[in-house]
Point group: C2
Chain length 310, copies 2
C-alpha cells in the first residue's frame, strides 16, 4: 500500500493574493473545480482580511459558501483577528489558519502588529477555534529566514510553535515564505519540530524562489512530513515579503511524489488543465519546473500520432 | 570543518558533444580556465572516440596536453576501446573513463556493441588502466532507465558494476543519463551501491530533464556520495539517448551544496562568468534553475547602486 500524502492547494489564497488582475468569484470556483477534478481534496480557499489590504480576497464571504461540496474536500481559510474569525464562521469555515511570522519586522510589515501582539492575538484565535470545535492551523511563516532580519534560529521557530500548540493549534505548518532555506536548514527545522510534536501534526510550505522547492519537500518528507502546501502553476508569493515569488508548484510536487510511489490521489496529467485555467484567469504565464518536460512529451505524442495518421 | 564534495565538471565533454556549433580548442581552453577560476578542480575533459562519430571531440589529442596545469586540477577522458585508450595515453591522460550502458539496446545504439561485447571490452580497459597505473573510472550509464527498454532493475546495475570493479575500476559513477529517476529509485540504487562498495568509490551523474536533478543529488548525498558530475549552464545531453537533454547544471549543484554547508571549493558567483563563456562558445542560451534568482539579485543590487549614486 502506497503511503498517503496530503496536497493542500493554496493557489486560491496564497497564489492569487498578489495577482494584479482581479479574479472573479466565478473564476475562483472554476479553478477550484479543475483542481478537484484532478484529485485535489484539500484547499486553503481564501482569507478573511480587510478588503482594502488584499482586494483579491474581498469576496471571501461570498466565495466560501459556494465552494464545491464534493465528498471529502476540506477547505481552510486564513484569519488575522476576531473580526476575520467571525466572518469566517458566518461563511461556514470549519478550519481556520493563522500565520505568525517569526520576526518583529516581518509582523510589523505584514500585519502591523509587533511579534508579541501577533503571538497573543493568534494564540487567542487558536484557543477560540479549539473551544468552538473548529480545526486550528498555525503557520509559522518566514520560519527559515526573514527578508528583513535574515536567517531565523530554530529555537525561535520552536518557541513560537510551542505557544501555538499550547494555545490549541491542531496543526503546525512550517513555512519557508521567501524560499530561502537550504536543504540542510530545512532538515534541521523539520527534524526538530517532528521530534517535539510528531509528524502527524506537521505540514510544510515551500517557495521555489531559489529552485530548492522540490528538494526541500523531499527533505521534509524524509523527516516524516506527509502534508504539503503547493500552488497550481507555481502561482503566488507574499505581497509584504520581498522576494517571495514562486510558491512550490502543485504539478511539480505531485509529479515527484507520485513518481516516488506515494499516494497523493492527484492525477498529474489532469493538473495541466488546472494550470491553463489559472493562466487564463490571471493573464500570467504559469507552470512549474516540469512544464518543459510535459511539453516535450506532448510534442513527441503529437508527432507519433501524425506519423500514425499518414 | 565543512565536509568536502568533489564537483566533476563534464561540460567540456558530455556538455559539448551534441552542440551543433563546433567549439574550437581555444574556446574549450577558455571555458576550462573560467571554471578553474571559479574553483573547479576536476574535469571530464574530452573523449578519445572516432572524430566522425563525435566531431565536437575531434580535437581530443590536441586539446588534452594543453589543458591548464594549475596545481591540483585533475582531468579524465572517455575511451571506448584500445585505440582510444592508446590515443589517451599518448596525450598524457592519467584517468580514463568508460561508460557501460545498462541495456542491450542502448549499447547497440550508443556504441554499436552488444551488452556482452561492451562489458568485455570495458572490463579489459579497466584492467589495462589498473595495470598501467592509470585511474580507472567506470560509468554505469542509463542506470535508472533506458530510453528504449524502460526502467532498469537495481540488480542489473549491481551486476555490471561488480564486473567493472572486479576488472579494476577505482571509481563507479552511476549515471541517470536520461533524467528519468525518481528520488525514491535514486535512493534505492545509491543505497545498494554504497552498501556494496563504500561511498568513497561512488560518484553520481544526473540529468535535469524532469526537474529532479537537484533532488536526486541531495538523495545521493544522503547516501554518502561526495562526488558529483555536473555541467556548466546545464549544457549537454547524449546524442544517442533521446530525451537526455539537460545535464544537472554546475551552478545549481554548487549553490545547493555551498548553501547547505558543504565545501565544494567553488565560488558560485564566479560560475556566472563561466556560463557566459559557454553561451558565447555554443551560441546557446544556457543557465541552470537558479538563473532567475541570480538575475533578480543582480537587478536588486543594480537598483541599490543606482539609488546610492543619486
Amino acid at each position: 500500500m502506497a503511503e498517503k500524502v496530503v496536497i493542500n492547494e493554496v493557489g486560491l489564497r496564497d497564489g492569487l493574493q498578489i495577482q494584479p488582475k482581479l479574479v472573479t468569484t466565478e473564476g475562483k470556483l472554476e479553478l477550484c473545480q479543475a483542481l478537484i477534478d484532478s484529485g485535489v481534496r484539500s484547499f486553503e480557499a481564501t482569507s478573511f482580511v480587510h478588503p482594502k489590504a488584499v482586494p483579491q480576497m474581498a469576496d471571501a464571504d461570498a466565495l466560501f459558501p459556494r465552494l464545491p461540496k464534493t465528498g471529502g474536500v476540506a477547505y481552510s481559510a486564513l484569519v488575522l483577528n476576531d473580526k476575520g474569525y467571525e466572518r469566517a464562521m458566518a461563511a461556514g469555515v470549519k478550519s481556520v489558519a493563522i500565520a505568525l511570522a517569526s520576526t518583529e519586522t516581518m509582523n510589523q510589515k505584514n500585519i502591523r502588529m509587533s511579534l508579541d501582539q501577533a503571538t497573543t492575538t493568534f494564540a487567542g484565535l487558536m484557543t477560540r477555534a479549539k473551544r468552538e470545535g473548529i480545526e486550528a492551523r498555525a503557520y509559522i511563516s518566514t520560519a527559515m529566514a526573514c527578508p528583513y532580519e535574515g536567517k531565523v534560529p530554530v529555537k525561535v521557530v520552536m518557541d513560537l510553535a510551542d505557544k501555538m500548540v499550547k494555545a490549541g493549534a491542531d496543526k503546525l505548518a512550517i513555512a519557508d515564505t521567501i524560499g530561502a532555506s537550504s536543504p540542510a536548514q530545512c532538515e534541521e527545522v523539520f527534524r526538530a519540530v517532528v521530534k517535539e510534536w510528531g509528524a502527524a501534526r506537521i505540514a510544510a510550505h515551500f517557495h521555489d524562489t531559489r529552485a530548492m522547492g522540490l528538494t526541500l519537500a523531499w527533505v521534509a518528507l524524509q523527516e516524516g512530513v506527509r502534508e504539503f502546501d503547493s500552488s497550481i502553476g507555481g502561482l503566488g508569493g507574499c505581497p509584504f515579503a520581498p522576494g517571495a515569488s514562486g510558491n512550490l508548484a502543485t504539478e511539480d510536487l505531485v509529479f515527484m511524489l507520485n513518481d516516488s510511489g506515494f499516494d497523493t490521489g492527484v492525477d498529474v496529467a489532469k493538473l495541466r488543465r488546472a494550470v491553463g485555467v489559472a493562466e487564463r484567469l490571471t493573464g500570467q504565464r504559469l507552470g512549474g519546473r516540469i512544464t518543459a518536460w510535459w511539453l516535450s512529451q506532448e510534442r513527441k505524442a503529437a508527432a507519433k500520432a501524425a506519423q500514425a495518421a499518414e
